[in-house]
Symmetry: D3
Subunit: 238 residues, 6 copies
């Protein structure tokens, strides 16, 4: 039995609330149970210096946690004067994941910045950030199309992410903090709506694990992501 | 006529929503119109090194803005590697303001950190932060009293804050962004529920202003703060 | 009786010595009793990037304390690798104060940097910096007019600053360190020679104070600033 | 045909040269073709503060590239004043990978730091660092056993790493720079000598890839790591 | 003829004014012509962590230039967030030079920090800093002896410094800025009152120079330092 | 008798191995006994901003030590977030020394960066860096001439460096770490093949030393540098 009472194959209650920012071109508050990540997409009609005159656009992401989003307070990165390695790793992952479904030539010389800020954390913040970040990005593109700044839709598909892990010997989907902190292994999967793999990150937490176990996690993730993509479409159509 | 249609003496719609964080000992989402500031109070049962064995506690504050809380995106301070002078000024102000109503001896060797994070900005973020920060602090003290960690209530009063300014020649209460960006003068007032002055910061934005005008602003503030203190009590009793 | 034997309404011995730097376009060593602040004005015939081609100039300030200007040695900010929040707050205040009496259009695309370095501190360094900074600025403008770089005088008035406070229950003018460290309340006033308010910053140090007390401080400040403006004129004419 | 003329299943020429540092407790220069990484293991008979009195040891890693290890010169991280996100990601990976085969209780309160410095880069520096880092670690443990500081061998197995990728449609083992820069997908595998998975990181570079393709890469990696583990044993026995 | 009209063997007008700081345990304003360096000595009755319980004391130095001490304004190091290589080089030199005449065992577990701040620069700031820093140090030791904190005098001699250089083919003593910026070679000499060499730093500015030329500079320096040591004694006796 | 058994006038075994980097335009691994410094020269066909359109080129150097190049591990500067004062001092010295034999006009608007990374340290790393850095520079110039980017040879001579010191009362050449850590005085000499002095840095380590002793060190250095220049020529002709 999982601490939350969920089935091994069951996601937490997931909601993707759009239009949560008065200012951003696109926004989505992604809630995976008690994990709440606010995702905003900000459009700039210019690209970084190294891309000027390339005719291509760029999508990048930044990630942060509010100091008391965590069980005990975490030091504020702005006050410490630098981002941790973990933060940088996560924001690089979000950026790569979103770019995997964007045709940068079709985007044109435009930069979209996705800010993913964790308001409350209970495990799985990076997967909520990618899943909600996609929704914010899609809304921002819609806004830009409405303004005539973008002609063709540069999105080539949907992208979502979920974690799986081995907890007390069982392979389970969408770990919450209680599970995450005792898992034998932990893997994050980023996939498209058509089942393409964008990114896989699997880590043994307590000891190395066998190949067959990994394949079970991969199967769980596939089903979870199918469901998340369905929720994304509902949010965008809502 | 003000851009929002408010009377010169009228606050924006203010709500102080408590219990918005699963983890924090006290929390309050302060909304002053479209300005939304999430305030959490985190308790540590130890004080900074320079206060050890003094028998006294400490209350401090940190302030931040989400990058897209603003009209156009602001760079993330954690990514830039330092807090701006404005951020430091504001968080020092919040800390001083809250300490003004805390008996640090009665608090005992406990530190309370108030994090004020601007989710959405539309002018007056520092006054919302102080007003909501007080509620988060009071709730955290209540939590600590419930746990028997604090015996007597260390709060000596309530504290709240509001801005006033000269806009198009008129003295108005609680400036929003549209007013703030065109004001001739701008002042922030921090006061207690009994009318004591904690902090006054008045600045000429376009040209020096006369003493009598300043006194009008002070009068507006007094009434606004009376109303905010009433809302604080309602939130804490609710 | 004040520690220095001064009357409640009495400034310390104030001298504004000009021409103290061989290199600067304008300079003034402001002495308020044992507080000595060296103010230099440096002119650059270009403005920051965000102002290019605006036809307007800029005046900005930086503030620092020599490590042993204080009673016990303070760590050197350059060695620590960052300026404290207090330093940033003060230098922003000095810059705003001086810009309040400059017509930036009349200045033209020129930047004047005012460096205020505390050689010896005994309370009131920021007010000495503003008062002396104005003299350095006025001298630099005179130098630039002499060189034909500036045509019309961009100064619209004089600006000076003084602190007042409640010490042992009495409202007193121009606090020295002994008073500052025991004051119940402390306020800094920045005003023009015609009595216009540029900036007011009042802070309760030990407990909130009443509005009437604040008005007494304001009255003291008005008289003190009248005297400081007279000394500025004497220094500039000398 | 691969640019290097290798078979798809063929490693580059790999050498693991030991004893290359006069000072380090263990050292190994890992060469994977033209990629050369110097790995040193430094032993400290104390652990970081947060582990004191836990009875457990720690293994950590740092990674760096000499500025001209790369095709065109890369800026020196020490001069820039911070490590890139990529560097932090890699050194965190190396540390986790090595700890996966160390019994930290058996190690006792000792810290081993593995420094992996890229002398020359031609793709696959992180996998060479893990493979060579294991050898340096094993040698340092042997040194400590020789000195009687460690009683029982804390190593629970061997760990090595290799990259695989999809290049021009083919699944190939051990990508060099020419392949890495044109790959459709790229994955790094960290495994033990008994086939346990320690870490998997797979990334789509140009477009999402199918699950079956990923399984082919996994198979290639398994064989490559078997060979690397054989070379590690030879180096340690040599 | 030198720009200043001095003889090749002639120092600038040198004054060493003591007692210039109300707060410091020892202070000296060293003026070498238009180069003015304020030197303060601050005593702490504890040593850095790595020296605790060694029974020995420490003398260290910091150096800084006020932004407008120079012909054109130099950026403030505190604002830039780091000290330049030049600053670090100079403060390390000052520290080493002063420690050369202090018996650290006799000093006891006391640290003296010498702050050398350039108020106005016209060449030779490091030599003025060493020469004046010695006077501040000697005064601080005298103060500590007066308080009974130090028993025996830990000074083993006097130390002073001077620059020499090859300018327009001539070997000259004590270069000012006009000479320094056109010199073919430039050397700084730090010596004791008994003629012992503490530090020599000679640099070819435009092209390598011959050994015999260097020996001429060494001779000039010897005489200059004899005179500076005489001025130090006069200042300390004055 | 020296610890290494060398004569007082004897260099360590010195080898200057060229072509050690696959990527750099010029490279040299300089070994002075157990001190090994990898020197690479990287050419950029543009100069720093402040030199644009001057028609002149630039040569600069950076220096670093691998963390475990030293007897006990040294913290990695990239991880600490800044270079030490010692590092900056050394890299400034290397850059000045190499520029002393380059005609920057003849070089044209090209920048050469010399990276000197200490692989293993046993005293005298800066002198090995200068001596090997010259070889890397000369090779890079040869490469650029081969590519037709440089027409005339901008080198005006050779430059090499060596340390001398007073150890146990004797003047000895080329100190190793054992000698360096017990020396009474230590001096580094940088000279050209024609005997011109480029830089002299002499420091008393334990107590001031006499002028005659310094002249003995200078004589030792002259002979050592003659030998190093011969080895440079052999390496470049080899």
């Amino acid at each position: 039995m999982r601490p939350s009472g969920r089935l091994d194959t069951q996601l937490r209650a997931v909601t993707l609330e759009t239009g949560v920012s008065k200012h951003a071109e696109g926004s989505c508050l992604a809630r995976f149970g008690d994990t709440h990540v606010l995702c905003t997409a900000s459009v700039e009609e210019r690209v970084p210096g190294w891309m000027r005159n390339s005719g291509r656009g760029w999508v990048t992401a930044e990630y942060g946690m509010l100091p008391r989003s965590t069980h005990t307070r975490t030091n504020r990165e702005a006050a410490r004067g630098k981002q941790t390695g973990r933060t940088q790793e996560i924001q690089r992952l979000i950026g790569r994941s979103l770019r995997a479904v964007v045709n940068l030539e079709a985007l044109g010389e435009i930069q979209v910045r996705i800010d993913c800020d964790v308001i409350q954390a209970d495990g799985g913040t990076r997967t909520a950030a990618i899943t909600g970040g996609y929704v914010a990005l899609a809304l921002a593109i819609r806004t830009m199309q409405g303004r005539g700044v973008i002609k063709a839709n540069p999105l080539t598909g949907q992208v979502a992410a979920i974690s799986c892990g081995l907890v007390d010997g069982a392979a389970v989907l969408d770990l919450d903090y209680a599970e995450d902190s005792t898992a034998q292994a932990d893997a994050n999967f980023v996939m498209t709506d058509s089942g393409g793999i964008v990114e896989i990150q699997g880590t043994a937490e307590t000891e190395p694990f066998a190949e067959e176990r990994f394949l079970v996690l991969l199967g769980l993730a596939r089903d979870g992501i199918t469901e998340l993509c369905r929720l994304q479409r509902a949010a965008l159509e809502g």
